[in-house]
Amino acid sequence: MTSDPRLPKLVDWIVAVARGELRHEMTPSSARDDVDAVITGLNLLVEELDTVYQQFEDRVEQRTAELHEAHLQMQKMAMTDPLTGLSNRVALVAELDKALASHAAGAENAPALLLLDLDSFKNVNDSLGHDAGDLVLKVVADRLRNAVRATDFVARLGGDEFAILVPDATLGVAQGVANRILDALNKHIELEDLKIWARASIGLRVADKDQSSVSLLQDADTAMYAAKDKGRSRVSVFEPVMLYARQVRNQTASELREAIATDQLDLHYQPVVDLRNGHIQGVEALVRWNHPTRGLIMPDSFVPVAEEIGAIVDLDRWVMTAALRQLQDWKTRFDMDEAFQLRINVSSMDLQQLDLVDFVRSALKDSGIPPRNVVLEITETALITGGDVESYSLLSLQKLGVCIEIDDFGTGYSSISYLRKLPVNMVKVDRTLVAELADDAQQNSFVAAILQLIRAAGLDAVFEGIETSEQAAQLRDMGCIGGQGYFFSRPLPLEAIEGLLRESAVLPLATEPALGS
């Protein structure tokens, strides 16, 4: 039997295939016999293997590209704030480190950091919902992007806090950027039918040589808090003395809860007077803090802190309980007028608590005070921006029989139509409207018109901030009945207010020097 000459070639080919040379081919002969069948089969297998390898290679290449893309994406995500598309804190710190290193290495100008916090942003979230809040943050981010220069670096640090790194800055340049930002944020944002102002307080710190990014961020933050304290929508340049103020603030925050729990708080009372005869219609309870080492602390210094740390509800309720207990005590000791009204401030945050109504109901029950003797003062902004819970609280409180009063009327939205819509009984007109009375005839007719409007809405009006006899006379002539202010009496400690109540005093007291100075 002669050996088939195709067999050695076939073996060589199989050897080559075993080495991985998949493209070498033999052509079957026209005999189409068994050896040709092996050749055909091997051709098909080689082709198949080649195809599979090719597919593998393509897939590996594609997957590698996808992985690379995903890696880049993740890197970007890790450095980006998903809501606004701005850089995040991690990215900012990396940029800060770069800028600080370049300054340390001899770059002429230091980098500056602006830290920006929106004023009252929490109100937007609380009263209009988080979607509205997110929308505001996006608009703010866009405005910041447009307000800075191409070389500046904008980041969102979280919540309503933003930062702008101005590399290679002088104080003047950085202040310029900050002012442009304040301008940009000065325009309102339309949210459905509401106009929102997302103004900001800005802390500015130009880096010291060899300063770390952590310390730079802390300083800018301190300056930002100083800006907030000075009154919103401002820029504050960092000064070392601010560190002390910050420390005090932090101390206040940590001591406040304990102060509420351990009755370190105290109430002062400012009379509300019948302008026609000087009789005391009621009092407004105002909280003070008898600090064991710092002495008497005024509410301006701790109420904002209480709001910030979420202790405002406890604070409000302490005031309510203590004031009602006091009124109960007075009723047993003094000949109080049936219509005497105790005014208590309720914060917007408390108004959002579902248990507020129950709390008020049981506080009234415990003290035995008729609801009509209690006026809850709620700021205009809290009333108008309130959501479902606030509306529920207001309506239920009104059903209880307590009076609801719009506080600081004329400082917030001031839409007259709200006067008719809101479940309120009284309006306390803000001191700013009273301040210019008597000096200015136009202002007088303006205030008279406001009074008429309030009356037309079926509400009673009280004017606060009356400091002179002229103002009191003007308001009385306009037909206004209730008034409050230094002209009649400052807020008084317990003993002093009891003196007035005991004697059914007529204000202003003749012995008291003309107040208002």
Binding site: R32, D34, D36, T40
Partner: protein, 127 residues
């Protein structure tokens, strides 16, 4: 490529191709996707009255490409397919054809046309 409705042979009992489509792929050729598609179109044309069995003769074809194999796998109008090839090489190529994503109808390789026809009998549309 030739398509024959019937092939007469004088000395054997005449097989019945009634109701069966018979496609002969051209011997000595590499069967490409286009050629497969043309054959498929003819199969469809012959099946206007409904599904028919298919006798696919591949004897002597040089090769069938992967793409052509895909066309075979997409066959829809045949009720059954008998792939016929006589040589060992045909057997390899035929089984390569069947080894792809096979069509949904029954399909099998036979080394003679008579065997293929006999198998297809069971799938003949009596109408």
């Amino acid at each position: 490529m030739a398509t024959e409705a019937m092939t007469d042979t004088n000395d054997t009992p005449e097989p019945s191709y009634e109701g069966i489509t018979r496609i002969v792929l051209p011997p000595g050729k590499d069967i490409t996707q286009e050629m497969a598609a043309a054959a498929s179109a003819e199969v469809k044309l012959a099946a206007t009255a409904g599904g028919r069995p298919l006798l696919l003769i591949i004897s002597g074809v040089h090769s069938i490409t992967r793409e052509a194999r895909t066309v075979y796998g997409e066959a829809t109008v045949s009720t059954a397919i008998a792939v016929v090839g006589e040589s060992p090489v045909d057997r390899v190529i035929g089984n390569f054809l069947l080894g792809g994503a096979a069509p949904s109808c029954p399909n099998q390789f036979f080394s003679s046309e008579a065997e293929g026809l006999a198998w297809l009998e069971g799938y003949r549309n009596d109408q």
